[in-house]
């Protein structure tokens, strides 16, 4: 579906992506792992049309992905749920959700909202509350819900577990898994490598802007290199 081919990107003179090759197939959860500053988020931001490429090509369903601005990328079916949630603080929960379906027919809103409330019942109780007053976990649920409102054909999640209590992390990951089982492929960037690999089908390891390792999730979980570097285990 999505294929990054030798993608380069830079912030000013600093090259952050040095030829990323990465592919996501229908039905998959793909984890992108790496240390802080390795280029994980930049990979997502580049695919979402926020950061420009300085080289290489991004393919989407066999054609070059058009990336003049993020809303154009979204219209082609790729949705990025960015790190830090970015809830609209002074919109209500309901308005935050509806903002996600701006260009889609209103008639489908109700069904989509019901599906999101099935995933996150707490959002239904908070509908008229301002987004900024929610807890961190609720904001993450709202952010994922808002992304789903845009009916993505590929969902890119950047650090959905960041700063959340372990229990909430478990819930969010199980819902990510459900969303995937219902048909949406997911590209998952996580610091929490163990949880990410537990639900992912495949994984990529990125080090200073280059993919250094790629394998099935279970192989990566058992790889000594990954265990040492990202799962915090001694030999």
């Amino acid at each position: 579906m999505l294929k990054l081919e030798n993608v380069h990107a830079a912030y000013g003179p600093v090259e952050v992506l040095k030829g990323i090759n990465l592919e996501i197939n229908p039905g998959e959860i793909v984890a992108l792992l790496g240390a802080n500053g390795a280029g994980k988020s930049t990979t997502l931001l580049t695919s979402a049309g926020v950061v420009a490429t300085t080289g290489g090509q991004i393919w989407w369903e066999g054609k070059p992905l058009l990336r003049p601005s993020p809303d154009v990328v979204l219209r082609q079916g790729i949705c990025l749920c960015p790190e830090g949630r970015h809830i609209f603080p002074r919109l209500t929960v309901k308005e935050n959700l509806l903002s996600g379906s701006y260009l889609l027919p209103k008639s489908r809103d109700a069904a989509k909202l019901d599906r999101i409330f099935d995933f996150f019942p707490v959002l239904k109780e908070r509908l008229q509350q301002l987004g900024g007053t929610l807890s961190g976990g609720e904001q993450q649920m709202l952010a994922i819900g808002r992304s789903l409102m845009s009916e993505p054909r590929l969902l890119m999640l950047d650090e959905p577990s960041l700063g959340l209590a372990p229990q909430i992390v478990q819930r969010i990951f199980s819902i990510i898994q459900t969303i995937n089982k219902e048909g949406t492929p997911i590209l998952l960037v996580e610091q929490n490598a163990r949880e990410a690999l537990r639900i992912a089908h495949r994984g990529y390891v990125i080090v200073t802007g280059e993919i250094v390792l790629t394998d099935t999730a279970s192989s990566l979980l058992n790889s000594d290199e990954v265990r040492r570097a990202y799962l915090g285990e001694d030999e």
Binding site: C79, H86, F88, Y102
Partner: protein, 323 residues
């Protein structure tokens, strides 16, 4: 001097001033909404908004003149079409100014779009000045009689001469009704429609708005169009009310409306309305008590005082309503 001042206070027709001030203030409020909406969404002062108001004035009068020469003076129809023409022209100016003068400067230093706005304002003003000349225009006088008709008499003065009567004229009713309708429509649009949600989303987090699929550039352009349309209608109403049109009217009223937006809390929609009404009322009371030459002294002193005592304006804290 103090004695004469107190004496002059006693004779102040406060009810009449309250009415005329509210009417004038409602027109300032319409212009102020344009400043505050653009600020809310871009954190930028669109100084050209006052000139859009002036363009609205002239467009209405030219529209009416053109239609009258085409098919005769069907006063009501020509007036309505004149307003429609003014709104379309002002929207085009608003859209064009965003596209040409501001969009490329969106990520530049804050002074760049501000300076560009001042430049655009001077360009528009001098352009109209060169086109229409320095002579003030008057609004077609066949509109004065039907609108001068008094709808209610609140205070009966001398029954023989009518001196001292206080009432509300048809024109005042029309201005207040139009302003109320437009403001209600604006509140509804901002709070209850998709495009309103999109406008508020863009004002709160532009990148995220784009990531959820909101076409940010279109929403910003739409904000300019709405603000310009409100200014154009205010221009029509104002030229009917004062019956005189000058190319410099945009600067005078624009600055007052800008002051209104600041006093109410820039970026805040109800604040712009409150500020506009306050400015209108204070202006008329100042003219009656101290004389017209004092009005700008008082208005802008109040602006400074507000900024010192409440830097975010009267309703500035209620950021929830920011567009």
């Amino acid at each position: 001097m103090l004695e004469s001042f107190i004496k002059s206070l006693a004779g102040v027709p406060w009810l009449e001033l309250l009415i005329t001030g509210t009417v004038k203030g409602s027109m300032y409020a319409l212009i102020a909404l344009g400043y505050t909406m653009v600020y809310g969404i871009l954190q930028m002062i669109n100084f050209a908004n006052g000139e859009i108001f002036m363009i609205g004035m002239f467009a209405t009068v030219f529209g009416i003149a053109l239609l009258s020469s085409l098919w005769g003076s069907f006063a009501a129809i020509n007036l309505i079409l004149g307003v429609v023409f003014a709104v379309i022209l002002a929207s085009a100016y608003g859209y064009g100014s965003e596209r040409i003068a501001y969009r490329r400067l969106r990520n530049a230093h804050i002074l760049a779009p501000l300076t560009s706005a001042i430049g655009l304002s001077i360009v528009l003003q001098q352009f109209i000045s060169n086109v229409v000349g320095n002579q003030p225009f008057t609004f077609p006088n066949y509109y004065s009689d039907p609108f001068a008709w008094r709808v209610v008499t609140l205070v009966q003065g001398n029954p023989a001469t009518g001196a001292g009567d206080v009432g509300i004229s048809m024109l005042q009713v029309c201005i207040l009704t139009t302003a109320c309708l437009l403001m209600t429509a604006l509140f509804y649009m901002i709070h209850c429609t998709r495009v309103g949600i999109a406008m508020r989303a863009v004002s709160q987090d532009r990148l995220m708005a784009s990531l959820v699929g909101i076409p940010v550039n279109h929403v910003i352009a739409f904000t300019f169009i709405v603000g310009s349309s409100l200014a154009a209608v205010a221009g029509t109403l104002f030229s009917m009310y004062t019956t005189t049109l000058t190319w410099s009217a945009g600067t005078a009223s624009g600055l007052k409306a800008f002051t209104a937006a600041i006093i109410g809390g820039i970026g805040n929609i109800p604040g712009a309305v409150l500020g506009g009404l306050l400015i209108g009322i204070i202006e008329d009371f100042t003219i009656a008590i101290l004389g017209a030459q004092w009005r700008n002294v008082i208005l802008f002193a109040i602006l400074m005082l507000t900024l010192i005592l409440r830097p975010r304006g009267l309703l500035g804290e209620r950021v929830a309503d920011k567009v």
